[in-house]
C-alpha cells in the first residue's frame, strides 16, 4: 500500500492506456510483428512485457515470445547495496540472434539497470536491435541511455521514490511518488 503522503501519478486506467499505446508504437516502429520478441526485466518488467504481448495479440492476432531477464549477476553495485535483491531467475526460451528485442522495465532512472540488461542480453546472442520500453521515465540518467517507448515522463527529485504497483505482484495497481525514507539505502 502507498505511504500516506504518496502522490498517485498513474491510475490503473492510465497504466492500461499506456500499455495499449506502447503496444501500437512497438508494432509501428517494427512495421509489423516479424522478428519481434519481448524481454521483461525482473521483477515488474516481466508482467508488463506479458501485458504488452497480450495487447499486441489483441490488435495484431500474433502472440510474441516473452522472456524474463534477471540482472543481479550483471550489477555494477554488488558491494554498494545493503541487502541484495533475491535472484528471481532468467528465462529466455528463444533464440536472440537476429531478432529485435524490446526490453521492458517499470521505471527508467539512472540507466544502470538497462546497461546491465544489455550486457546480459548480448551473452545470449546477437540481436538485430535492442529497444527499450518503460512505464515511467523519471529522469536523472547517469549513462547515455534513452527509452524508445515511454508510458509517462515524470519529473522527480532524487529524494523521491517512484513506486510501480502491478496487480500480478502487489495487490494494487498504480504508480505513486513517495518520499525516500531518511536512512534507507538506495537500491533502484
Amino acid at each position: 500500500m502507498p505511504q500516506p503522503d504518496a502522490r498517485r501519478i498513474m491510475t490503473a486506467d492510465e497504466i492500461r492506456r499506456a500499455i495499449v499505446r506502447i503496444s501500437h508504437e512497438i508494432v509501428e516502429k517494427q512495421a509489423g510483428t516479424e522478428g519481434l520478441v519481448l524481454v521483461g526485466i525482473q521483477r515488474r518488467g516481466v508482467p508488463l512485457a506479458r501485458r504488452l504481448a497480450d495487447a499486441i495479440s489483441d490488435h495484431e492476432g500474433i502472440r510474441l515470445p516473452v522472456g524474463a531477464l534477471d540482472i543481479t549477476f550483471y550489477r555494477d553495485d554488488l558491494s554498494l547495496i545493503a541487502q541484495h535483491p533475491l535472484v528471481k531467475g532468467t528465462d529466455i526460451p528463444f533464440d536472440l540472434n537476429a531478432v529485435t528485442v524490446v526490453l521492458v522495465d517499470d521505471v527508467l532512472y539512472t540507466g544502470r539497470t538497462i546497461r546491465s540488461a544489455m550486457d546480459a542480453l548480448v551473452d545470449f546472442g546477437r540481436p538485430q536491435a535492442i529497444r527499450l520500453a518503460v512505464l515511467v521515465d523519471r529522469g536523472h540518467r547517469e549513462l547515455p541511455i534513452r527509452a524508445d517507448h515511454v508510458g509517462k515522463n515524470v519529473p522527480t527529485s532524487r529524494e523521491e521514490i517512484v513506486k510501480v504497483r502491478l496487480s500480478e505482484i502487489d495487490d494494487d495497481e498504480g504508480v505513486d511518488i513517495e518520499r525516500l525514507a531518511p536512512v534507507a539505502e538506495l537500491v533502484g
Binding site: 543481479t72 549477476f73 541484495h84 528471481k88 531467475g89 532468467t90 550486457d119
Partner: protein, 338 residues
C-alpha cells in the same frame, strides 16, 4: 540401538519472500560449516543455485558478478573435484582465481597458516577457500582474515559446500520439501566431514536421516543423535537392512584408509562384504532410490561398480551441481551484509 523421534522442524519459512522484492539478507561473512545456516539461509542458497544452473545452461556460461574480486584456493590436502569445482565456479563469476598448491609454496619452508593468510591478504585476496587436514583450521583463518573464508573441508569436521550440493541434488529429485524423506548415510561416518555437515542440513530440511555403518565407525554419533541436530533427531544403526529398507536416497561414504587407525576395521574385504552398497542390498530401498557418493570412490569397497554407474546413481549430477552451489555461495558471501 536406533533412536527415532518426531523431527522438530524450525518454523521459520520464506514468508513474504514471494511478494516482497528483497531477499532475506545473507548475514554470514564466512562459510565454515552448515551448523549456523537456518532453513531460510538454506532456501536462499538453493534458490541462488537455481539461478546459477540457468547461467550454466547459457551459450556463454560466464557472468560478471565477481569481476575484480580475487579468489584464492589454498589447499593443504589433496583434492580434484572440490578444487576444480571452486576454480570453475569462480571463473564463471569472472573472479580472478589464484591456485596455491601448498606442496610448491613457502609452506614447505615452514611458513605458518597465519603467515600464509596474511600474505594472501596483502596480495589482495578477498575470498579465501581453504582445505586443511586439521579440524578447525578455517576457523582460525577466519579470525585473522579481513575477507571471506570458505571451508573446503577441514579434517574430520566439516565440508559445507558438499552438504549444500547434496541437499540441492536431493531437492532436484524430490522437490523443495524433504520432510519425511528417508536419507541414509552409509559407511565411514567416523572420519567423514561430509557426514557431519550433512547432519546439519538434512535435519534442518526435515529429512528422516539415518547413519549406518560398523559400530566402530559410528562412535559418538549416538549421543549426537539423542541430543538432536538443528532440525531434530536422526537414527544411528549398524543394521544395514533396517537402514536401507524403503530408503529414498543412500549416500555411500568413502572408507578413508589414510585416516583409519588400527582396529577399526578387520579388513576392507570384510567391510565390503558386510556394508558395501550392492545391487542386491539396494533392492531393499524404494524403487526410485537415489544413489549418491561424495567421491572419490573405492569401487568394490563401499559401493559396487554397477551401482555407482547404475540407473539410480546421481553421482555425476552431484559433481555438476557442485559448481552451481559454489557459484551461489561465492555470490552470497560477496554480496551479503555479513
Amino acid at each position: 540401538m536406533s533412536v527415532q523421534l518426531e523431527p522438530e522442524l524450525p518454523t521459520e519459512v520464506m514468508e513474504g519472500v514471494e511478494r516482497g522484492t528483497e531477499a532475506p539478507a545473507w548475514r554470514h561473512r564466512h562459510l565454515l560449516d552448515t551448523d549456523v545456516l537456518s532453513r531460510t539461509d538454506l532456501d536462499l542458497v538453493m534458490r541462488t543455485t537455481d539461478a546459477m544452473k540457468e547461467v550454466l545452461r547459457r551459450p556463454i556460461a560466464t557472468v560478471p558478478a565477481l569481476r575484480g574480486w580475487n579468489l584464492t584456493l589454498l589447499f593443504y590436502e589433496a583434492s580434484t573435484r572440490t578444487r576444480v569445482s571452486f576454480e570453475v565456479a569462480g571463473k564463471n563469476l569472472s573472479a580472478n582465481v589464484v591456485n596455491i598448491a601448498t606442496g610448491a609454496s613457502s609452506v614447505t619452508k615452514g611458513e605458518s597458516l597465519l603467515d600464509t593468510i596474511r600474505t594472501l591478504e596483502a596480495l589482495g585476496t578477498r575470498l579465501l577457500v581453504i582445505r586443511h587436514s586439521v579440524s578447525g583450521a578455517p576457523y582460525l583463518a577466519a579470525r585473522h582474515f579481513s575477507g571471506h573464508v570458505l571451508n573446503a573441508g577441514d579434517g574430520l569436521h566439516a565440508h559445507p559446500t558438499q552438504a549444500l550440493l547434496d541437499l540441492y541434488t536431493l531437492r532436484e529429485h524430490f522437490g523443495s520439501d524433504l520432510t519425511g524423506r528417508k536419507v541414509v548415510i552409509l559407511g565411514d561416518v567416523l572420519h567423514s566431514r561430509v557426514a557431519r555437515s550433512n547432519i546439519w542440513t538434512l535435519t534442518a530440511a526435515g529429512a528422516d536421516l539415518w547413519l549406518c555403518g560398523p559400530s566402530t565407525l559410528l562412535r559418538g554419533f549416538e549421543t549426537w543423535a539423542r541430543a538432536g541436530a538443528r532440525g531434530g533427531r536422526f537414527t544411528v544403526t549398524s543394521d544395514l537392512r533396517a537402514a536401507l529398507r524403503d530408503a529414498d536416497a543412500v549416500m555411500a561414504l568413502r572408507i578413508q584408509r589414510e585416516r583409519m587407525s588400527a582396529g577399526l576395521l578387520p579388513s576392507l574385504w570384510e567391510y565390503a562384504d558386510r556394508f558395501g552398497l550392492t545391487a542386491d542390498r539396494l533392492a531393499l530401498a524404494r524403487p526410485d532410490v537415489l544413489v549418491m557418493h561424495p567421491g572419490p570412490m573405492n569401487e568394490g569397497v563401499e559401493i559396487a561398480p554397477d551401482v555407482a554407474a547404475g540407473p539410480h546413481s546421481v553421482i555425476t549430477d552431484q559433481v555438476a551441481n557442485g559448481v552451481a552451489v559454489r557459484m551461489a555461495v561465492l555470490q552470497l558471501l560477496a554480496g551479503g551484509v555479513g
